[in-house]
């Protein structure tokens, strides 16, 4: 019987060690690893930055929402997402960078000047202003013009309470708002992407509507800088950019005030900017929205689901012409 001997490997076929541990191969391996690492690093520069969790001061004595405020059944958007996905060009134009860039923004001391067509113009210290009415928790839908939405438990009181304190005159028909203009504290204002300061406006009946909120907190805590500390507007039936942040001035006027995004692109962002699935933005559809934290798309609701409460404000108004 013949037992096959294993093939012998001929000596001349064995790779000599000097080739095996070849300098060239080593260099190639090193070049491959180093270049892939560098590419990865470069990619990471543009990826979503790490988002260290942040928290703010707990607010005491927050009341439940006033009677008549519609209850939103959908789950609330995570605090992490609300605080790390922000359009706030005063700090950065990239939504995921705002939290980091806004860190360290000091919102105290803070005053809010309320003047214009009012009986009692006044410059409020923030703490005095916040004492005008008890803070309540209002869970609202929040719909951005870009097509995403959140459910946010705001803390604040109706803007009407502030306006009542200064007693608007009969000629007052509009309310103008202004964000802080301080490029040292808001570095995004050093770039000219928008005309600073950011300004917004509402019709007086919109401003005094019971759903229109002057918010000083969310999730039971004071507002973080990226969400508009220390005081912002929340108009839940309008696209998010109407809800101006870090307000320093409120002025009652007889003429419709200018608004920042309308000045930037008049054909794209109207004065009203009510959430409306039937009126497209010129560049994209407003029919659906992506709820942050969800994978699918939801149908967008007329007036963001607040048609019953705010529809009468616009009776007889052509919503397509007055977008």
């Amino acid at each position: 019987m013949l037992i096959k001997k294993p093939d012998e490997i001929k000596g001349r076929e064995i790779t000599p060690p000097e080739t095996y541990f070849n300098r060239r191969n080593f260099l190639r391996g090193a070049a491959l690893v180093a270049s892939a690492y560098a590419t990865g690093k470069l990619y990471r520069q543009f990826a979503v930055p790490d988002a260290p969790p942040q928290s703010a001061a707990r607010l005491e004595g927050v009341q439940p929402a006033a009677a008549g405020v519609p209850v939103v059944g959908d789950p609330r958007t995570a605090f992490e997402d609300i605080t790390h996905y922000n359009n706030f060009y005063e700090f950065a134009t990239d939504k995921s960078s705002v939290a980091r860039r806004a860190q360290g923004f000091v919102a105290r001391p803070w005053t809010v000047k309320v003047d214009g067509l009012v009986q009692r113009p006044r410059e409020f210290d923030l703490d005095d202003l916040l004492k005008l009415a008890p803070a309540e928790e209002r869970v609202y839908r929040f719909r951005c013009v870009e097509g995403w939405s959140m459910i946010i438990p705001w803390v604040g009181f109706p803007l009407a309470r502030l306006l009542a304190a200064v007693e608007p005159l009969g000629q007052a028909r509009y309310v103008a708002f202004q964000t802080l203009h301080d490029p040292k504290r808001m570095p995004g204002q050093n770039s000219s992407v928008l005309d600073w300061p950011y300004v917004e406006g509402l019709r007086l009946d919109e401003a005094t509507h019971p759903l229109t909120l002057l918010a000083s907190g969310l999730y039971g805590q004071t507002l973080l800088p990226q969400n508009g500390a220390p005081l912002r507007l929340v108009v839940p039936w309008k696209y998010g950019f109407k809800s101006i942040k870090s307000i320093v001035r409120v002025q009652l006027t007889s003429e419709q005030p200018p608004t920042t995004w309308n000045l930037a692109a008049p054909d794209e962002y109207g004065f009203y900017s009510n959430v409306n699935p039937n009126v497209d933005h010129p560049r994209w559809s407003q029919r659906r929205e992506r709820r942050i934290g969800e994978f699918g798309m939801r149908d967008t609701l007329l007036f963001n689901g607040y048609a019953e409460q705010v529809g009468p404000l616009y009776a007889g108004l052509d919503l397509r012409a007055n977008f």
């Binding site: 190639r28 590419t39 996905y85 995403w148 992407v193 497209d280 992506r290």
Partner: protein, 205 residues
């Protein structure tokens, strides 16, 4: 550069080109794409498409300026990666934005300039990807093939315009791409005027 070196460098370019995709998939798996993962994936694949288009268009000028003819070996690969990332970009829109509602996609394409421009630019890349093989170069003939592949410039210009159209206010990155593309185009134009028509020269023996 010997053949083995070129083979290795091609492998290295390939490996580097899939690094962004690998990291994107990794981040997606570990929920590291931020609060709006779909938006992030769409934007990232879109930007990568433009990056690879610009890189593939930069190969020839770079090769001529640095006298490194072997660089041509990477033009097809980087061009195909542009097509690949472009296809992924389109897929994120068709799948995660529209959930394969093709009627809506068609309506969107004709109603919205930015989608129309993006769609057109991608479609222009399809014949380029198909005819990227040696076989097709032979079939079409070098001259015709070259003329067809100038469409890459049209697609790149369209891609940058598409990006610029969707940005709300901060147009710095689209402008950076436009500048890169403008430089590459200017190089070609200057080159075309500098190089006289090739006439056969009679060389004395």
């Amino acid at each position: 550069m010997n053949a083995a070196d070129i083979k290795f460098t091609r492998f290295a370019v390939f490996a580097n080109s899939v690094v962004p995709l690998t990291l994107l998939a990794w981040d997606a798996f570990f929920h590291h794409l931020g609060p709006n993962p779909v938006e992030f994936a769409t934007r990232t694949t879109g930007v990568l498409t433009l990056v690879f288009l610009v890189v593939s268009l930069a190969v020839t000028p770079l090769r001529q300026l640095t006298h490194t003819p072997w660089l041509i070996k990477f033009r097809r690969m980087t061009g195909l990666f542009a097509f690949f990332y472009g296809a992924l970009h389109l897929l994120t829109y068709v799948w995660f934005d529209k959930f394969f509602r093709f009627g809506e996609i068609v309506a969107d394409t004709f109603r919205r300039p930015f989608i129309f421009v993006g769609m057109t630019s991608f479609l222009l890349l399809v014949p380029l990807a198909v005819t990227s093989t040696q076989g097709w170069v032979k079939r079409l003939g070098g001259k015709r093939w070259q003329r067809l592949h100038r469409l890459a410039y049209v697609a790149a210009v369209g891609g940058v315009f598409h990006y610029w159209l969707i940005v709300k206010a901060d147009t710095r990155i689209p402008y950076a791409f436009a500048a890169a593309l403008g430089a590459l185009l200017a190089y070609r134009v200057v080159k075309a005027y500098q190089t006289p028509m090739k006439t056969p020269r009679v060389t004395p023996n």
